[in-house]
């Protein structure tokens, strides 16, 4: 977006991004102990719903945010890829916790652990911690909302790729 761009286009961006960023629907997707913190984040004490992000969906077809909360095993990696592909565009991914960031405590001896979920799906926000506290996940959601608010909505999250092509 620059000063010379179409005024209507910019407004559409603002409206769409405003809607998208304030109604993120996460996929119910807990893999390990990080899921406990994710559940705490969604529950009454921390109340992720304040940010429009509390509608955990049971199916990837209704979700636009995947919170990868926990250890990604090699057995699970292909399932994660399939779930990600079943989510409709535009879609975002938060990698929650050390395990899904880079293998965590299994980085050396974990013969069965995928060393980072970014090896199978693209990740928008990495959340450090083992497990991260709910405040950290909330900050990640707010960072993701900021990221969504500046993207070109009409082209979608993959728009930058189409421009390059």
């Amino acid at each position: 977006m620059g000063p010379g761009d179409n005024v209507v286009m910019t407004t559409m961006d603002d409206v769409l991004n405003w809607g998208r960023s304030n109604s993120l629907w996460p996929l119910t997707f807990g893999l390990a102990c990080c899921a406990i913190e994710m559940m705490a984040t969604g529950a009454a004490d921390y109340d992720l719903e304040r940010f429009g992000c509390g509608v955990f969906r049971a199916t990837p077809r209704q979700a636009d945010l995947m919170i990868v909360a926990g250890t990604v095993t090699l057995k699970m990696a292909s399932r994660i890829r399939m779930l990600y592909e079943q989510m409709p565009d535009p879609k975002w991914v938060i990698s929650m916790g050390s395990c899904s960031n880079k293998g965590g405590p299994y980085w050396q001896e974990g013969y069965h652990v995928l060393k980072g979920v970014d090896r199978v799906i693209p990740v928008d926000i990495y959340v450090p911690g083992c497990p991260p506290r709910p405040e950290t996940l909330i900050e990640a959601v707010m960072m993701l909302q900021k990221k969504i608010k500046v993207q070109e909505a009409a082209l979608g999250p993959l728009g930058f790729m189409r421009k390059q092509a």
């Binding site: 090699l74 057995k75 990696a77 292909s78 880079k102 293998g103 980085w107 050396q108 013969y111 069965h112 995928l114 060393k115 980072g116 970014d118 090896r119 199978v120």
Partner: protein, 171 residues
């Protein structure tokens, strides 16, 4: 009933099947011949009130060399657990009789022991891997197991030792 009582009873009943005692810590264990384990555990269950099975697991001893299956039947009547060890040759064809027909609990434990050590259980009703994917190669808890470089096209190590970090920066 004490461990000694049980050991003496078993020795009298199965002079061929009981190979001796092992003074392992914290509890002593009974060495059982592979061919006799099924009838020994059946005797424990039916005659000595060992109503439950706590555990079936495996151990790899590369120095003996041997594979070992450890059974922990438990008795609520006598409030005790006894440990039985079966030593098998350390080969790909290590086999022992399944005790799933005696204790249903043994089903998944034997599958896990097979998954991790490659010990096969004869007459098991559902003899498959339980934790690893079904196309997994090798048995991870064997001491000579080598972690594969790739699984289904996904790199397994964080980075390969003889090359630069595979993706962006250090860990």
């Amino acid at each position: 009933m004490t461990f000694e009582d049980i050991f003496n009873q078993l020795s009298q009943k199965f002079p061929q099947g009981i190979l001796g005692k092992e003074e392992s810590k914290p509890d002593a264990s009974i060495k059982v011949a592979p061919s006799a384990i099924h009838e020994v555990i059946q005797f424990l269950r039916d005659e000595l009130q060992f109503e439950t099975l706590h555990l079936v697991s495996g151990v790899d001893y590369p120095n003996l060399p041997a594979l070992c299956v450890v059974y922990h039947p438990g008795s609520y009547t006598d409030k005790m657990i006894v440990s039985l060890k079966v030593y098998l040759p350390r080969t790909e064809q290590a086999k022992v009789a399944s005790i799933t027909d005696l204790y249903k609990a043994a089903n998944w434990h034997e599958r896990e022991t097979y998954d991790m050590f490659g010990i096969q259980f004869e007459n098991h009703p559902d003899h498959r891997r339980i934790l690893c994917p079904e196309d997994w190669q090798g048995f991870p808890l064997r001491k000579d197991y080598v972690t594969p470089d790739y699984y289904n096209g996904m790199p397994v190590p964080l980075f390969f030792e003889d090359s630069a970090p595979s993706e962006g920066g250090t860990h």
